[in-house]
Every structure is written in structure tokens, then in C-alpha cells.
């Protein structure tokens, strides 16, 4: 605490006077109107559930992770949501490494209240086994640069990270159906969280004994202002949380005015977040689709189509799953090259010509057919067994389309 205050960066009297007088003429230091918001940019990381939000100079990173834990005793069928804040010492001279300070705790609590108490995230759907295993979702918020109004930026970072987060799918099975099997990301498409609404925080700064209200105060304004209020609202016009921690008193009418302002802004900010998240999701899906088009072509060969389709549906176009499949294909083809004659390799036509390998091939085929009938249980085997035939072709196909496209372009 002592160090924190000693390291505090203080405005000179001249500077603070300047900011205050300018505000009396409805002018802000950075040229915004009183109720204008700074530019908001949202970026996403490569992994699920990571976001980076920039609000003017303020820079916050959000990261969401999940873990299976035992639920709280008073809520056996609800998952949990916890928020951790990290004020990096590089963001502000007053931030110190080590235990979170008062402001870090308060920030975490404001966001926590907005998200949890308003039931924005459906915690009941995070339950796997009542009383035994539930998902515990952890949101880490890292302040990378403090340009003022950390709460709003951190709140948006938390929302963006939550919306792009995917948790691995899991099923209950094993003995007495009490064991939890977590499916890896390759095996099954990970699931998004259920988010009912987006509570968005808006911070107001009060100046001149609460007579001047400013939205989204900057770092400089935060030093000068005499009061602060954070209002968390969603696009439906509901108020999810309010925090006005003491400081200078303001009139009731001013507070209600702020609430109205905030709820009129909520829709716009919600739209920005949703658009950014959608763009990100679209991009992710596109990456998957590109890979899939190559696989779809290879499916023409052999009687394996049914199985593969089934497999495909279960994996639901998972990108990483395909990577692993391709790996398998590569391995298999190499093994075959080593063991069998190269003739067996050039597709079904050559297979029928040569005697011994052909029989083997047919045996394989019939085996495959039987396995298809038996269903999903042996699904893992069938694609591997059958794939060596069209394995190379899928690889060729993976290369060919590009060439074809180029040719098309040139012609």
C-alpha cells in the first residue's frame, strides 16, 4: 500500500485545473464529446477463449480456461465462474507485482457481479455429474496498459473471451456410469458456453461536485475526477450491476440520467462485440471448410463412404481431427510402400489385375463391408484399414485443387 501511493503518478495543479476548466466548456482533453466512447478494437488469439481489447490507450487481455472440479456443496448441480485479475506492473507505475491491490480486487468484483449475479453465463449447463464433477470456468484478465477506464475494457475482454471459448465435450460412462470421459478436441467438436445476455459495463466520471458527467474517462481524467460510477447493462434494457463506491455525492437525477445513457449505448456495444465474434467464428469455420473439401473428393472411392460420413458428422468438421487423420493416412501409405508392391497402390484398377494383392484387397473390402454393418464400435478401425487405398489420392487431391485453380485462372 505504501509503495503504491509513493509511486503514484500525480498530475500537476496546472494540468488538473486545465482539464477541469476545459470540461466546464464541455471540452475534453482528447477532443471527444462528453458522452463519446473511445475507439474499441477487439482481437482474438489463435486458441479458443482468448481476446485482446483495446479501448483507446487501454489494453486488456482476457483468457478463459475450464477445468473439471467438485462443485460447491450448496450448489451441487452448478458449474462455477471465477474471475482473476492481474495488474501487470508494466501497465502503470502504481501497479506492483505480488498480491492484487484494492483496485484490482474491486475491478474483479465489478465484473464478477455483472457476469455472475445477472446469470449471464448458464452455470447449470456446466454440470457434468451432479455433486461430483462440474466445469469451473476461470477468466483471467490481464491489464497490459492503463489508459483509463480499465473496468469497461476488462469487461469487454471477459465477454469476448467467454463468447469464443469452447470447452471439450465430455460424456458420463464407465462403471456405474460415474466416470467422466473427456473427449479431446480432435475426437469431438468442443462446445461453446451458453451465454444468455451480454452485460456491458459503462463507467462515468463525475467532476465539479457531480455537476459534470463524463463517459469513459481517460487516465488523465481519472486523476482529476471526484467520483466514479460503473453501470453494467445489457441490450434488453436491464440493469445488471451498479457500482458507485462512495466518493463525491451526486444527485439522484444525475444517476438516473447515467443509467439511461448507458442502456441506450448498450445495444451498439453489444453489436460491435457480436460482429467481431462472428467474424472470428466465420474465419475459424472457413479454415475448417478448406481442409474438408479435399477429403470430400476422396470419398468417392471405395465403399467406405458411409462410415466416413458417419465419422465426419461425429467429429463435426473438426480441423484438428482431419490433421490427425491425414497423419494416419500418410503413415499407412508409407507402411504399404514398404510391405506391398507398388502396383497395389495405383488404385482399384491395378488391384484387380495382379492376383495375390487383389485377393487381399477384396478380402479387405469384404471385411470393411462387414465392419460397416456392425456400426460405430469399430469405426476407428475401418477408416484406417480402408484408407490406404485412397490415402495417396487424398494427398494428391490436397495438392491438385490449387494447381487446377491456377490453371483456370491462367486460361
Amino acid at each position: 500500500m505504501e509503495g503504491r501511493l509513493a509511486n503514484m503518478w500525480r498530475l500537476t495543479v496546472n494540468e488538473s485545473k486545465f482539464v477541469e476548466t476545459a470540461l466546464q466548456y464541455e471540452l475534453r482533453v482528447d477532443g471527444r464529446g462528453l458522452y463519446d466512447y473511445r475507439k474499441l478494437t477487439i482481437k482474438f488469439g489463435k486458441e479458443y477463449g482468448s481476446s485482446e481489447v483495446q479501448l483507446g490507450q487501454t489494453h486488456v487481455m482476457g483468457f478463459v480456461t475450464a477445468q473439471l472440479v467438485q462443485p460447491y456443496k450448496d450448489r451441487p448441480n452448478e458449474g462455477s465462474l471465477s474471475i482473476f485479475t492481474e495488474f501487470s506492473p508494466m501497465a502503470d507505475p502504481s501497479f506492483e507485482p505480488g498480491r492484487p491491490g484494492e483496485s484490482a480486487v474491486e475491478l474483479g468484483r465489478i465484473i464478477d457481479r455483472g457476469l455472475r449475479e445477472s446469470r449471464a453465463v448458464d452455470t447449470e449447463s456446466l454440470c457434468v455429474l451432479a455433486g461430483k464433477k462440474v466445469w469451473s470456468v476461470r477468466i483471467d484478465l490481464h491489464i497490459l496498459d492503463n489508459g483509463g477506464n480499465l473496468v469497461d475494457a476488462a469487461n469487454i475482454a471477459a465477454l469476448a473471451a467467454l463468447m469464443t471459448f469452447r470447452r471439450p465435450d465430455c460424456t458420463v460412462g464407465g462403471e456405474n456410469s460415474q466416470e467422466v470421459i473427456i473427449h479431446s478436441l480432435e475426437e469431438r467438436e468442443p462446445l461453446p458456453l451458453i451465454i444468455h445476455h451480454l452485460p456491458i459495463a459503462f463507467t462515468f466520471g463525475f467532476f465539479n461536485n457531480g455537476n459534470i458527467v463524463v463517459m469513459d474517462p481517460t487516465y488523465v481524467e481519472e486523476e482529476v475526477m471526484c467520483g466514479r460510477m460503473t453501470v453494467t447493462v445489457n441490450a434488453n434494457g436491464d440493469i445488471c450491476a451498479i457500482q458507485k463506491p462512495g466518493e463525491e455525492g451526486v444527485n439522484q437525477s444525475v444517476i438516473l440520467h447515467c443509467l439511461r445513457l448507458a442502456s441506450s449505448r448498450a445495444a451498439a456495444t453489444t453489436k460491435i462485440i457480436r460482429e467481431e465474434v462472428e467474424a472470428y467464428n466465420r474465419e475459424k469455420n472457413l479454415q475448417k471448410v478448406k481442409r474438408h473439401s479435399t477429403l470430400a473428393k476422396s470419398e468417392v472411392f471405395g465403399p467406405i463412404v458411409v462410415v466416413k460420413e458417419g465419422h465426419k458428422k461425429s467429429s463435426d468438421e473438426d480441423k484438428s481431427a482431419e490433421i490427425s487423420q491425414e497423419h494416419v493416412e500418410l503413415k499407412n501409405s508409407k507402411e504399404q510402400e514398404a510391405v506391398a508392391s507398388p502396383a497395389t497402390f495405383k488404385g482399384p484398377e491395378t488391384c484387380s489385375v495382379s492376383s495375390d494383392p487383389a485377393i487381399k484387397g477384396k478380402a479387405n473390402d469384404s471385411g470393411d463391408a462387414q465392419k460397416e454393418v456392425t456400426g460405430d464400435v469399430e469405426m476407428e478401425d475401418t477408416p484406417e484399414v480402408t484408407k490406404h487405398k485412397d490415402g495417396e489420392k487424398t494427398l494428391r487431391d490436397a495438392v491438385k485443387p490449387k494447381k487446377k485453380k491456377r490453371k483456370n485462372k491462367s486460361t
Binding site: 505504501e2 501511493l5 474491486e106 457481479r113 450491476a241 455525492g249 439511461r260
Partner: protein, 240 residues
Amino acid sequence: MEYVNPEGLRLDGRRFNEMRQIVAEVGVVSKADGSAVFEMGNTKVIAAVYGPREIQNKSQQKNGHALVLCEYSMAHFSTGDRRRQKNDRRSTELSLVIRQTMEACILTELLPHSQIDIFLQVLQADGGTRSACINAATLALADAGIPMRDLAVSCSAGYLNSTPLLDLNYVEDSAGGADVTVGILPKLDKVTLLQMDAKLPMETFETVFALASEGCKAIAERVREVLQENTKQLEYRRAS
């Protein structure tokens, strides 16, 4: 669960706009410069104020203003389930909030180079500890003779079974409905503290907010009465 029965009575027999019984006493800690006990029903808080005294840590000194420090803690026996909670996030936040509320009502510019310590201990918790703490702190500060703009008072209100309810107790507080804590400076008619949880539509919030403000004004009257009574007592003692 039904929190308001068809007759309009709550679980503990109160009406929607009824507060719990308030018992307040000033001067309960002999060593402290000012102290008070504040009870609202089963919620009981003790507050002690030390100061204005010399600043212990010079680096914390503020230019031309007194330094206000506040520590909120809950006694381990204050709740039904005993849990370790010293320096947890909730009490850190509450300390901050209470400190800033009291800072707003103390005339800090009159006491430069000095510090005022406020210690708050929750002895029994039955909902509304935040409000009770602010009220207790106000009484203790007044008892210590620290100059104040106004008597900061606080009260909470909630919204359950589509009825706004004044002064929630623990059962009502943990029901998952909205909880609005308001702190006002009654003479100046300004809101210093405002905290809200859970989701509420705009219009409903306004009614709940208005109810809580009304509650605050009622508490302010009671706090003033207690202080006046205390002053009378002091007068009698001097006369005798």
C-alpha cells in the same frame, strides 16, 4: 419459495416497506476516540474510530487532506457456517467502499497531516452488513468529534416476488433477487454509495432505488436521535 405471502407479509412478519428494529449505542469502546454499536434486527456491527492522529506512514500523506483508513472484518462466529475469511476479496472491496463513502462526508481539508482510522467488525451477520457498517461508522465518527459535512447513512432494498422490499435479511438477500445498497448524505440530498447486484429492468430499479432512499432518510432520523440523546446524557453528566 414465497418471500411475500398473499397478505403482504414477509418471512419475518414485516411489510414490504418496513425496516428491522434499529438499536444504536455510542461510546462502547473505552480506548477508542469514538465508537458505536449499530444493530438492525439480527445484524450487529461494532465500529471504532481512532484519530485524527499523526500519520503513521508519511508516504501515504495526502496534500492538504486528512488520510482516512478503514478496515472491515467479519467475526468468524458472525455467520452460521464458519469460514476463514480474513482479507478476502469481499472484505477488501467493502473496506474500500466504506472508506470512500466516509471520506466523502468527512471534512478532510480541515485536518491536514492527520489520519483517521475506522475499524469495523461484524459481530452478527444477517444481511445488510454493508449498510450497518456505514451507519455504525457515521455514529462512531460523530462520537469522535470529527467534522463532517453530513451524516452519511445507508440502507438496502431488494426485489423479490415482484415486490420491492426494504432492508433485506440474510434469507432474502441470498434468494438471488436484486440487492440495491444506497448510501446518501440526507441533508445535501446526494447519493454517495450505490451498489447493485442481479438483473433488474430500468423502471423497477427506479422504484427499488426510491424505496432504499426513503429507508436511508428514516435511518438518518434515527441516527440523529441517538446522537442527540447521547449529547443530552453528556450534558446531564457535566451538570451533576
